[in-house]
């Protein structure tokens, strides 16, 4: 993982005596087209193309199709035509069309007015949960990496929150945070955790951090374990303090693994849906509504075109975040995953 050159992933994964040499005489004969990779890689790609590729193309197309409605000029009921930005304008500027066909600001209560609050919630949840999870996960990884008694038990224990379905997690925390629940009775307070605008956000953050920090910790731990111990040995001999060791050795060396973990958690947090829906409310105007929630709610009303526009916006948002993280922050995922792992023991 540390010693990799960008283009290495194809050449790299083939140790001496790879696929080429096992075909009949490879040296002089011009190679026939090799069909094996096609049928090996083809079927999964076809599935992905049908189940992910096609719906995406269709959603993008629909997002530019106007809604069916009465055409004021011809006076007839017509299908919407392709080539309108109306749905994007609807979401981004909350402009609705009134009875006489004129754009007006949407009335309060219209789902479009929930767009920016939902964007803010999504961004806030992502930043807050991923930050807490990174710091806490790093600390957990350091503790779990130590040579202590009961380490296997520790690792099994942190897998429990990860393995529990999010739907169950949400119900579990709904119980813990219920008005007469254990949190209120231990604190001796009377906090409306699942309805108060502020505390409901706190509840979602706590439940999410509880569930996903262990995953972060395990990924970071794997990165920590790839750092050879003698590096620290050498640093210590040279008189480096513990803090210096951490900043100059641990952080730079664990950075690739850390960035990958942060990238995956960020993308995951941006599409948060289950927790706020089950723990707090599925309503678009709930204090914890996320952007995914709005897509589903709009779809349930049957407004497929404008739901498609919103889901395209979500897709673009996630794509942009992934792009920025990979390009500028150096979360180098593709190589780390396809190239041969170089484990230093």
């Amino acid at each position: 993982m540390t010693a990799q050159i960008p283009e290495s992933s194809t050449g790299h994964a083939s140790p001496p005596g790879d696929g080429r040499t096992s075909d009949s005489p490879p040296v002089l004969v011009k190679k026939k087209f090799d069909w094996r990779p096609v049928w090996m890689v083809g079927p999964p790609l076809v599935i992905l193309a049908i189940v992910i590729g096609y719906p995406i193309v269709r959603a993008v197309y629909l997002s530019f199709v106007g809604d069916a409605g009465l055409n004021p000029e011809t006076g007839r009921f017509e299908d919407g035509a392709f080539g309108t930005l109306a749905h994007y304008i609807y979401w981004l500027t909350q402009s609705c069309t009134n009875n006489s066909g004129i754009s007006v600001p949407c009335a309060p209560g219209n789902i479009a007015t929930d767009f920016w609050p939902a964007m803010r919630n999504t961004a806030m949840f992502t930043v807050v949960t991923v930050s807490i999870e990174t710091v806490l996960g790093f600390w957990m990884a350091v503790v779990m990496g130590r040579n202590i008694w009961g380490r296997a038990l520790l690792r099994a224990a942190v897998l429990v929150p990860w393995a529990i379905p999010t739907a169950v997690t949400a119900k579990l925390w709904a119980f813990i945070f219920s008005p007469e629940g254990i949190v209120n009775s231990v604190l001796g307070r009377d906090i409306a955790w699942t309805t108060d605008p502020f505390y409901s956000k706190v509840a979602v953050i706590i439940a999410d951090v509880w569930k996903t920090t262990p995953f972060m910790a395990l990924l970071i731990l794997a990165g920590l374990q790839m750092i050879p111990g003698d590096v620290y040995e050498a640093a210590r001999v040279d008189g480096a303090s513990k803090w210096q060791q951490f900043v100059k050795i641990t952080l730079p060396l664990v950075r690739p693994a850390l960035m990958v973990a942060i990238l995956f958690r960020t993308l995951d947090a941006l599409r948060m849906y289950d927790l706020p829906v089950i723990l707090i409310s599925a309503n678009s105007s709930s204090p914890t509504a996320t952007i995914s929630q709005l897509v589903v709610n709009q779809m349930r009303t049957g407004a497929f075109n404008s739901a498609s526009a919103l889901s395209t916006l979500v897709f673009l948002l996630i794509f942009a975040v992934a792009f920025v993280m990979v390009k500028w922050l150096g979360a180098n995922v593709v190589e780390d995953r396809t190239g041969k792992k170089e484990e230093i023991r």
Partner: protein, 307 residues
């Protein structure tokens, strides 16, 4: 990941790779001051409580008489099975047992399909040189980061058109496409670590590539396949958003069933019964995690995808 290295692998690498504990070479334990030790164990205790306490509270409540649901007593008390009976009771319009069956069906079929398709793709990515390999791994990776919510509208519309809403395939096929990237990446990473010299040896001895794969590589890769299957299974078992839109009451998986679980009284949440239902869904997973802890950790960090 191969069998021979398994016993030493975990203990060894973490012993040498511990960042902050590394100032102590493995032998010199006695000279270690006591305070950092205590701090470490306090940290470990915190992590243990973190992982297990909420789950413990769910199980304790599930077995507690629902008159005492909001009791503060941290120890099991007022033991009863009534909550489980209520959770499985079908008279209120819930059929939790059927939902468990649906989840098993959906998860098993999805996992099998993902493994079968994934194993060949992973083999090609790890072992065969072909043009466009970088592109293929890029596409698979992009698919793994893909937001499910971007699919829900078009899939809902498509499945409505062809009358698939509420059918099992409407949930299985999208789930396969979610599990495939995870499967392919985890398996590719495992395959890279296999001793491929054995395959070469078999080929030298006259085995075809297919024979070498079936007779030599597959048995060696069995632990990797198993681990990947566990990950894909857990991921599918936990899926909620698409299933909540594409299922109906008779095909819904447990996650959907538990989310809309309601008691006879619409104004009070039947928490004890919900905790019992949650325990039913979770305890098998937790047992699986406890048994296969090391495998799952190695699979998660090899593929490092999704939660």
């Amino acid at each position: 990941m191969s069998a021979p290295t398994a016993p030493t692998g975990s203990g060894h690498s973490s012993g040498s790779g511990t960042p902050t504990g590394a100032e102590r070479p493995v032998i010199a334990a006695p000279r270690q001051p006591i305070w950092p030790q205590i701090r470490t164990y306090l940290g470990a205790l915190f992590i243990l409580v973190w992982g297990l306490a909420p789950f413990y509270w769910m199980v304790v409540t599930a077995f507690r008489d629902n008159v005492h649901t909001f009791s503060k007593n941290p120890f099991p008390s007022h033991l009863t099975m009534a909550n489980f009976k209520q959770a499985l009771d079908t008279s209120g319009g819930n059929d939790f047992l059927a939902a468990i069956g649906n989840s098993v069906l959906i998860s098993v079929v999805t996992t099998l399909a993902a493994i079968i398709f994934g194993v060949f793709a992973a083999y090609a990515l790890a072992r065969v040189d072909f043009r466009g390999k970088f592109l293929v791994s890029g596409v698979v990776l992009a698919a793994s980061m893909f937001p499910g919510v971007a699919l829900v509208t078009p899939l809902f519309q498509l499945f409505t058109d062809i009358g698939w809403i509420g059918s099992y395939q409407a949930m299985i096929i999208p789930n396969v496409s979610f599990a495939l990237p995870l499967t392919i990446y985890t398996l590719t990473s495992f395959f890279n670590d296999l001793p491929w010299e054995l395959e070469e040896a078999a080929r030298v001895d006259g085995a075809t590539r297919g024979q070498a794969f079936m007779k030599i590589i597959l048995p060696l890769a069995a632990p990797a396949l198993f681990t990947t299957a566990i990950l894909a299974f857990i991921m599918t078992w936990n899926e909620f958003m698409l299933s909540s839109q594409l299922s109906n009451q008779s095909t819904e998986p447990v996650t959907v069933a538990i989310a809309r679980f309601a008691g006879n009284d619409p104004f009070t949440q039947p928490y004890a019964a919900i905790m019992a239902a949650g325990a039913l869904v979770t305890i098998p997973l937790v047992i699986m995690v406890l048994i296969f802890q090391r495998r799952i950790v190695s699979g998660l960090t090899a593929g490092g995808l999704k939660s």
